[in-house]
């Protein structure tokens, strides 16, 4: 039972993890992440990598939409920029994967900054439309530029670490999950800095933020840039993971997927981005496992497949109606319950 946390310094107040219990659980979580690849089958490792990539990209979108209040439907296009950069560098230049990933992030960042320019004039749905336009332009470039392999796209050789090809989910896990954790730590720390707090101020009231001395131009573009950097790196990881990048790999629907993930998970919360991405990726798979467990064989699978997608849709609507603050809030409530457990709070 824990009734409060005493904080005696500003540093303690700003710490990411404030209690011993929290640190203990984090250590348990970290240990599980390390042990997981040795226990799981290829299927679960594949899903872990996919979830991890989605978490990285959703966190990027959360910086922009959840924390800065700028709605974007261009996340998939920025991932595409990162993925293509990695694919081109890997196939045509042959630079090490760390450099490629960074370059993917930077190219996407530049793209994000350019796309973010209209955000100085337009907000909300209008900005969303402007970012959709960006994703169509990106698609056009990917499909028509000889350098990007046209509609057939590019095949990506596996990333290599000390001569070892990272070509299985097991090996890629050790690249994708640590990079995602680094990015998550980066994002969590960002909101302890002046920059992060400026983003939040812009989200809450941009005019007031400007009055307080926050240059909107610089910070809005910075938010776009950082968000796209995350998308670019996630896209780069995606390219190494799927090994084929085509213009159809990053459709508009994918951007909607990430927006849905942060809404379901909880906007403006790092944990929300994680939970949302996990929910959106894993729930359809878990529903399939439930269908598999039912007796009835393949005939039932044919019948239940559409039902499964309806249930997934209903779950999303259910969360929006009953918990508009997202899964992160559900998580917080569960935590609060255990803070005072076994007493009621």
């Amino acid at each position: 039972m824990r009734i409060g946390t005493l904080k005696e310094t500003y540093i303690a107040d700003a710490a990411l993890f404030d209690s011993r219990t929290q640190k203990l659980w984090l250590a348990v979580g970290a240990a599980l992440l390390v042990l997981f690849p040795f226990m799981a089958s290829d299927y679960w490792l594949y899903l872990a990598c996919l979830v991890s990539i989605n978490v990285a990209s959703a966190t990027g979108l959360n910086i922009l939409t959840g924390y800065t209040g700028l709605v974007s439907l261009g996340q998939a296009a920025f991932m595409g920029l990162g993925a293509y950069t990695v694919a081109i560098l890997e196939t045509k230049v042959g630079t090490p994967f760390v450099l490629n990933l960074l370059a993917g992030g930077l190219v996407a960042m530049l793209g994000g900054i350019v796309v973010g320019i209209p955000s100085l004039r337009v907000k909300g749905l209008y900005l969303a439309i402007a970012t959709i336009a960006a994703s169509f332009i990106a698609h056009f470039i990917f499909a028509n530029w000889k350098f990007t392999g046209g509609t057939g796209g590019l095949s990506v050789p596996p990333a290599k670490l000390f001569g070892m090809a990272l070509d299985t989910s097991f090996r890629l896990y050790w690249l994708i999950v640590p990079v995602t954790i680094l990015m998550l730590l980066g994002a969590a720390n960002l909101f302890r800095t002046r920059v992060g707090r400026a983003f939040i101020a812009i989200r809450d009231r941009d005019i007031s933020a400007e009055v307080l001395g926050i240059p909107l131009l610089r910070y809005k573009l910075l938010s776009f840039g950082l968000s796209s950097f995350y998308a670019g790196v996630a896209g780069g990881l995606w390219a190494y993971f799927f090994r084929v990048v085509t213009p159809e790999s990053f459709p508009l629907l994918m951007s909607i997927f990430f927006l849905a993930a942060i809404i379901v998970g909880g906007m403006g919360s790092i944990l929300g981005g994680i939970l949302g991405a996990v929910f959106m990726t894993m729930v359809p798979e878990l529903l399939k496992l439930v269908v598999d467990l039912m007796p009835g064989g393949s005939e039932l699978t044919v019948f239940l497949s559409p039902v499964r997608t309806v249930i997934f849709g209903l779950l999303i609507i259910g969360f929006l109606v009953f918990e508009p603050h997202g899964l992160a809030e559900v998580w917080r409530r569960v935590r609060r319950f255990f803070h005072l457990w076994p007493f009621r709070n």
Binding site: S41, Y43, W44, S249, P284, T301, V302, S305, P306
Partner: protein, 393 residues
Amino acid sequence: MDTQRTSFQRRQLLLGAAGAAALTSPLSVLAQGAEEIVIGGSIPLTGVFAFAGVGINAGMGDYVKMLNDAGGIKGRKVKYVPEDTGYKVDVSVAAFKKITSQNKVNLYYGDSTGFSKTINPELDRNGHILMAGASFATELNDPKKYPNQFLVGPDYTEMFGILLKHIAKEKPGAKVAFVYSDSEFGRDPIESSEAMAKKLGLSVPIKIMTPAGSVDVSGEVIKLRRAAPDYTIFHGYILAPIPEFITQGKQQGMTSKWMGTFWTMDSSTVMKMGDAADGFMGVMPYRYYYDTEKAPMLEKIRALRPEYQSTAYIQGFLAAMLFTESAKRCLDAGKPLTGPNLKAALNSIKDFDTGGLIGVPITISGNSIPVGRVYRADMKAQKMVAASDWIKL
């Protein structure tokens, strides 16, 4: 408090047990009889391609059932394990990983070009799987690049080739227009087919690319009318905007004959075009469910399923037939079921009788089966009728 604590401990225990059960059961590779030959399938039972996926699934399932009822392959039963993909590449790969983790898979059906390309390195690495799928992409028809895959029919360029050959025979020197969608699927055969048309003495006065989901095509129809083609081939669509093109074209006095490729050519799809479909032609590598020509396998299918079955069903059925034929040839030769052995067995198929699903004996020397026939819509009979003989490339 004691009661509360006890109940919590019990709950914890139950949760722990449930969690452990949920985690470990799919994690472990399920023990299975070494006798079974497994066909896995990433099948789009939901999503935009579900119209075909349901048919493919039924076709594969039916053939496997027929085969098992007849004793399987050399006494070994065949097991078909499908998984829904929603026609999304990442979900298809997840299905592949799931099925291959839980079964010893030797044969696999993929649902899209994207999946076939994505899973190819994994197939090469795995070395135990021969794969076919719903894709007819020209790129996949390359045994060097895709050594463990094959197409259950002609690739898109070959489909165009069959149509162009028919046109060249019917009207030498004809003008042929290509109308295609701005997608990988749509653009696939265009460049290579233009060259083929020239080789056959045909001309391609216009190529029109439309956005994949376009509805208003009036501007494009005007361009098409100006080019005055004798034939117009649509590719990269299922249905829309083909009926719009034909209706508006006919209204503007065009005399072109209209043609499509495999995914447009299912009987139910063509009939949905209504009046516009009268005389609509296209390439079909298989016989239709209701064809009256002698086809013992079609008769079996009709006895099993009295209602119409789509061409996607026939495609799935034939895929399962070719899969199991390859496995049979491998076992006959006493070779283990590996990807290269299965592919070599597939490539040994020469003048093979498909029970009339394809009207002529087939030979698979590479990654495709370059055979097809031109069918024409007869709206009065609400059926597709043969407009040419079987054409081999």
